[in-house]
């Protein structure tokens, strides 16, 4: 079960956050800071999974962008690690340059995530199908 997904930059600033378990808005920044600190402090040769409280973090770095996923400990870490990559490939397919584009297209990135993960479960991983609704939206907005 996926608990949250974070995208942060190297400075630890949150670029996007999506929670699948209720967390008060006020508490999110401190949780995020804490989580990011754990991940950023890890060395390259160390493994990409971190224990954090009673759950686990899976993180992956793309240039200056970190993607961190919080999961329950029954989840398969490696499959989440690859899910992150699949997600990035989708972003890559849609945006031409991922790292900066996501900042200014918060809404679209969210729409993409909504297609991939729901209620903490992976619901779609087929890239074409993930993008289909968003592409259709774009087309309709164009026609307007």
């Amino acid at each position: 079960m996926i608990k949250f997904l974070l995208m942060v930059n190297k400075q630890g600033q949150t670029r996007l956050s999506k929670y699948y378990e209720q967390v008060d808005i006020e508490k999110r920044p401190s949780l995020e800071t804490d989580v990011v600190k754990r991940c950023l402090s890890r060395k390259k040769e160390e493994c990409s999974f971190v224990e954090y409280k009673d759950f686990r973090l899976v993180y992956r770095q793309y240039a200056a962008l970190f993607i961190v996923v919080g999961i329950s400990d029954t989840e398969n870490e490696l499959s989440i690690y690859e899910l992150v990559h699949n997600f990035v490939e989708v972003l890559d397919k849609y945006f031409s340059r991922v790292v900066s584009s996501i900042m200014f297209n918060l809404d679209k990135v969210h729409i993409i995530i909504d297609e991939i993960i729901q209620n903490g479960h992976i619901v779609e991983t087929n890239k074409n199908r993930i993008l289909a609704p968003l592409l259709a939206l774009d087309k309709m907005a164009e026609a307007h």
Partner: protein, 1144 residues
């Protein structure tokens, strides 16, 4: 082609903003957002950020309020508001505008509106109600995109109460021609199932259709529902095994369209999902497991490609192989697979390998043996996560022989870690291992000292609690004495050193032990020494007030010699003026008791330490007061968990760092009654257990994440072990033939295999042999005469029997076999109780008493050693009592059960004689009922020459009870003019098929199907049947029979979430309580075992186990009744509370 253009266009703004950072704001259409983001990125301090966001929020507020703002602008504003909220600044004023945007915007704006709603609101928000109409409208829209987004938002959040409003429309979408709509509809239904399972119960057949959908996406979506359903109740879905296997085979075989591939691996996440489902289906079920061996093997074989994702699949596959019924050939391959993981130079794979190993060693500790050297290398790995995972693995292979080494490793880690969560976790594990396997007193006390020093004040309160209980319990023999004396000695020397670094909890433990057991060392030291040490503790600045009160309490017990009295006087003078009332009181007590020796001897009798105190834990002396208060209109008492309305909240991510939510801690409640409570800390938890037992005990559960006693041993070196092997043993392997390869003499030569090439140095070899001793080489050690098990002394006592004064006689049946215990539970409780009471001749010892008070329970002890507490409460005076008149619940050990043989037969509805007939009859089961749970075949009657035999069988359909009557004609001649009548005034019986059957040919079997519904609920009903028939050359004949049906046959699990349960608990008015004896088995926690037994026997749905409280729910078929049951621990006894929405 147009797609490509689309993409470029949509990517354009971001491209521009990216390439020229400075110009980003101006050129990008989302300029304001761009500015905001840029501004934030450039900031250096939190304070500046706050200022900037505040300003931004002001401007957003202004804009949303303006009537001139277009929807298009509104969309952009919403994204900014989302951004602000993401940074942790509430923008609640914009919520309503988000809903408006979803209502009125055109497509993209609408989507952003929905998106904002889903990000802003939580599932219980009342704002969501405003969205219902919009959703409904969009669901019915002709624009597919709108339907799509409505379904998306519904599957993210939707108000539970409004589900009926949109359910038909969503259901309709299941047959939509577009796959995406069908897929999203399935996901929406999944959401409904998660939040309100009973709302979608009627569409389970449609889920099956979705599973068979021609589109793989729709099928995949339906698997989410099935994973959940199968996890909750694997028995009902065994028939799906074939389909799941087929699907997996097709996926693995590459039958899906290519775009489902990820790096040329076909639909990996789908494979993982399917493997999980198979694991649930095949668990402890040989037949089902056999169906999947082939596909599991194929999965192992196919996943050879060297890519992370194939390893992820392999990991899941290995887990499944080790979960289902074992097949040695597969196990070997899986073990080999784990080996590859563990040995991999890739750190992520190593981690996964350790995790897999940790999982499989629970079944066979020997699997760790081939990886000894790798494990030892991982113990010293530079990455703490790897280290931590290794310790977890070692924890699971600990036995009496390697405990000292493993505990040392864990303590080593603890000394270095500064993470509170791992500290809490590891400290709990060390304490558990120490209690279970301690080789001797000295080691035990020293280890516990380390636990207390390292665990400090963050550890779970049950660790000191259990420790003190362990010291206090037991007969006063030499061994106990030695343990206590050693503890005292060790604490005295600790106090003589520097005490500044000792955690407060530890000091409290020390004070209690010194106060209680210092007398053991009196002869060898001067009497005042301990007093002086304690006084020194009082003087120190870092000693907390709470600790001081413990110290004062200890001093009160010690002030027997003149030196001590003088010291006590000094202390009293100082603290009798303290501002803290507790301290002042303690000082006062000390003052008085130190001067009045007689009084002291009476209040704190030295020899009374071990005597158990009679504690009226139910506070029955307050009954009068309570009923008076109630009569005067006071609200009835509700326990905290009843008050806790929002149980769902609990499940949310906990951000309170390691805070203990319970108000009652060991120390706080002890202060209040220290004087009377001299005996043992056991009482502490009891006195607090009165009010908040469930919350409190849940913490105890938390600390012991793994109970090795409970780990079932199904695996041996040679594969699957038969069930009957005693599992009460330690989790080390059972005695096996000594294997020369694995004996401790030769582990290094065994472990040369790892590719490291380097000679492992001597040190590592030694470590290996000490760590893995006892694995696989058990026999040799046992032969040398060393006890394999830890001294009984250190064994953790089973929780259920935490000794209250009244329940002492109850601990003797813990070795009763599981099935006997289950039956005992059921016999003496619940639905069959009426029969037991009336027919079994067991004189009821209490009359039902009607009391107005709700939760305060009172226990009567009537001298009979087997009757520990009798309790009967009929709250609303319902027409029928479920648990009638049988006061002797759950206390009769199996041997004493006075069971009516007939009742017992009912519980074992398969008399041995009838077995052979079972099979032929089973083949006559109608196909549509064959997959469902059913009872055994009960013979009803047969005529003298057994030419005609009637048998019955109940099939528990989800929505009905189907009664099948089998008419077997064993004669050559046919039966004619058959009429079968079933009558019962409490039941409504309707014939589905088979009747009116006119004739049954020679040597054949006919089946009549009836659905049976309870018109009026009764515990037990008799059904009378009459079959009239005629042989070709004979007179009309008739066969009469009767059949009894019990209420339990009409119960079905009620699948509710914990949250719903909480609401039902509050809303249901009838309740009924009864003391309960838990089922004890070797394999499970008593509570889990009991719940499983209830689930199995009564078709209940186990909703959740919260700490020491198990909650289950069921409903009555077609009836108004919904019941929720709760098994609660309190005051050392277990209580069953049944709450009903209908009747009782």
């Amino acid at each position: 082609m147009s797609d490509v253009v689309e993409k470029t266009l949509s990517a354009l703004p971001s491209l521009l903003s990216l390439d020229s950072q400075a110009g980003a704001g101006k050129l990008s259409p989302s300029s304001k957002l761009g500015n905001l983001i840029k501004g934030i990125t450039e900031l250096t301090s939190k304070h500046e950020e706050e200022k900037l966001i505040k300003k931004e929020l002001e401007s957003i507020k202004e804009q949303v309020a303006s009537p001139n703002t277009t929807m298009r602008q509104m969309k952009e504003i919403m994204v900014r508001a989302i951004y602000c909220e993401m940074l942790g600044y509430q923008a609640s004023f914009s919520y309503i505008h988000a809903i408006k945007l979803a209502q009125q915007g055109s497509v993209l704006e609408k989507r952003v509106g929905y998106l904002a709603v889903s990000l802003f609101l939580n599932e219980t928000d009342e704002f969501l109600l405003l969205l219902v109409n919009t959703v409904l409208k969009d669901l019915q829209s002709t624009n597919l995109i709108e339907v799509c987004m409505a379904l998306t938002v519904v599957s993210q959040m939707f108000p539970k109460d409004m589900i009926p409003a949109i359910l038909p429309v969503v259901e309709e979408k299941l047959t939509h021609p577009k796959e995406i709509i069908r897929r999203k509809a399935v996901l929406a239904l999944y959401k409904f199932y998660l939040i309100a399972p009973n709302q979608v119960q009627h569409i389970h057949s449609k889920f099956r259709k979705a599973l068979c959908d021609k589109d793989p996406g729709v099928m995949t979506a339906s698997l989410h529902i099935y994973l959940q359903l199968i996890k909750e109740n694997p028995e009902s879905y065994k028939d799906l095994t074939g389909s799941m296997v087929t699907i997996l085979r097709q996926v693995v075989g590459g039958k899906l369209p290519l775009d489902f591939n990820y790096h040329s691996v076909p639909a990996p996440w789908l494979q993982i999902q399917l493997l999980r489902i198979l694991a649930y289906l095949g668990k402890e079920d040989q037949g089902t497991s056999e169906m999947m061996y082939d596909v599991l093997e194929e999965s192992l074989r196919r996943a050879e490609m060297n890519h992370n994702i194939t390893y992820a699949i392999l990991f899941e596959c290995v887990k499944t192989i080790y979960t289902v019924h074992p097949k040695s050939q597969l196990l070997e391959k899986a073990a080999e697979c784990i080996g590859n993981f563990v040995l991999s130079p890739k750190i992520n794979l190593k981690y996964l390998g350790l995790k897999a190993l940790t999982y499989v060693v629970q079944q066979d500790a020997n699997l760790a043996l081939p990886h000894q050297m790798t494990i030892i290398e991982c113990l010293d790995h530079s990455d703490v996560i790897i280290k931590r995972e290794t310790l977890e693995l070692l924890f699971r292979i600990t036995n009496a022989q390697n405990v000292t080494v493993i505990v040392e490793k864990m303590l080593e880690f603890l000394r270095l870690t500064c993470d509170d969560y791992s500290t809490i976790d590891l400290v709990g594990k060390v304490a558990e291992l120490a209690e279970k396997y301690a080789p001797d007193n000295v080691w035990f006390i020293q280890t516990m000292n380390s636990v207390f020093s390292l665990g400090g004040d963050v550890m779970q309160p049950d660790i000191p609690n259990n420790f003190l209980r362990l010291l206090a319990e037991g007969v006063d023999n030499v061994e106990d004495r030695q343990l206590r004396l050693f503890a005292v000695d060790s604490y005295v020397s600790l106090l003589q050193g520097v005490t500044a670094k000792l955690p407060q909890r530890f000091l409290q433990v020390i004070s209690w032990v010194l106060g209680e057991y210092s007398y053991l060392r009196e002869e060898e030291s001067d009497p005042g020494s301990v007093m002086r040490l304690l006084a020194r503790l009082l003087d120190q600045r870092h000693t907390s007030t709470e600790t001081r009160s413990w110290v004062l309490g200890a001093m009160t017990k010690l002030c027997s010699s003149p030196v001590s009295v003088a010291l006590a006087r000094d202390v009293c003078e100082r603290y009798s003026g303290s501002l803290n009332t507790v301290l002042r009181q303690k000082a006062q007590e000390l003052m008085i008791l130190s001067q009045d020796t007689k009084l002291r001897a009476r209040v704190l009798p030295a020899e009374g330490r071990l005597e158990s105190l009679e504690v009226d834990s139910s506070l029955s002396f307050l009954d009068g007061y309570v009923s008076e208060a109630l009569a005067a209109g006071a609200a009835p008492y509700k326990s905290p968990h009843q008050r806790q309305e929002d149980l769902v909240q609990e499940k949310a991510l906990s951000l309170e760092p390691y805070g203990l939510s319970l108000p009652v801690s060991l120390s706080s409640c002890s202060i209040t009654d220290r004087l009377t409570d001299r005996r043992s800390p056991t009482l502490l938890s009891m006195s607090s257990g009165l009010s908040g037992n469930s919350t409190e005990l849940s913490h105890q559960e938390g600390s012991t994440t793994l109970k090795l006693e409970g780990v079932k041993r199904v695996w041996g070196k040679d594969g699957y072990l038969a069930q009957q092997q005693s599992a009460g043993e330690t989790p080390t392997p059972l005695v096996e033939l000594p294997n020369p390869l694995l004996s401790p003499q030769s582990p290094p030569s065994q472990t040369q295999k790892p590719s490291s090439g380097l000679e492992p140095d001597q040190e590592k070899r030694q470590l290996a042999s000490s760590l893995f001793v006892g694995l696989g080489s058990h026999n040799s050690v046992c032969l040398m005469g060393r006890a394999e098990t830890a001294p009984r002394h250190f064994r953790r006592k089973p929780r259920g029997e935490s000794s209250s004064g009244a329940s002492e006689g109850s601990s003797n049946s813990s070795h009763s076999s599981r099935s006997a215990a289950v039956d005992n539970l059921l016999l003496s409780n619940l639905l069959d109780s009426t029969t037991v009471a009336s027919e079994g001749g067991a004189a009821t010892t209490t009359t039902p008493q009607q009391t107005s008070q709700r939760t305060l329970d009172h226990t009567t002890s009537n001298g009979n050693p087997h009757v520990e507490g009798t309790e009967q409460r009929v709250e609303a005076g319902g027409p029928l009592s479920l648990i009638r008149g049988n006061g002797m619940v759950a206390v009769v050990p199996p041997t004493h059960t006075q069971t009516d043989p007939q009742t017992q037969q009912d519980l074992h509805p398969a008399p041995a004689l009838e077995r052979p007939r079972d099979l032929p009859l089973a083949s006559h089961l109608p196909a549509e009922l064959s997959g469902l749970a059913r009872s055994e075949f009960t013979p009803l009657c047969s005529d003298q020459d057994s030419s005609l035999a009637l048998s019955a069988c109940r099939v528990y359909k989800e929505d009905a009870l189907v009664l099948l009557v089998f008419i077997s004609n064993n004669n050559d001649s046919a039966l004619h003019q058959m009429v079968l009548q079933l009558t019962c005034k409490e039941l409504e019986i309707s014939c589905i098929s088979g009747s009116p059957l006119k004739e049954v040919k020679g040597h054949s079997v006919s089946v009549c199907l009836h659905t049976v519904v309870m018109k009026r609920a009764s515990v037990q009903v008799e059904l009378a049947g009459l079959l009239s028939y005629q042989r070709p050359l004979g007179q009309p004949q008739a066969a009469q029979f009767s059949l009894s049906l019990s209420l339990k046959h009409f119960l079905r699990p009620l699948t509710v979430s914990t949250g719903d349960y909480g609401k039902m608990w509050l809303s249901f008015s009838h309740d009924l309580k009864q003391n309960l004896r838990l089922v004890t088995t070797e394999h499970q926690e008593p509570l889990t075992a009991t719940l499983d037994a209830l689930k199995g026997k009564l078709h209940l749905h186990v909703v959740d186990i919260i700490g020491s409280e198990g909650i289950v729910a069921c409903r009555l078929l077609q009836g108004p009744g919904q019941w929720i049951w709760s098994v609660v621990a309190g005051c050392g006894q277990w209580r069953l509370v049944v709450v009903s929405g209908g009747w009782l």
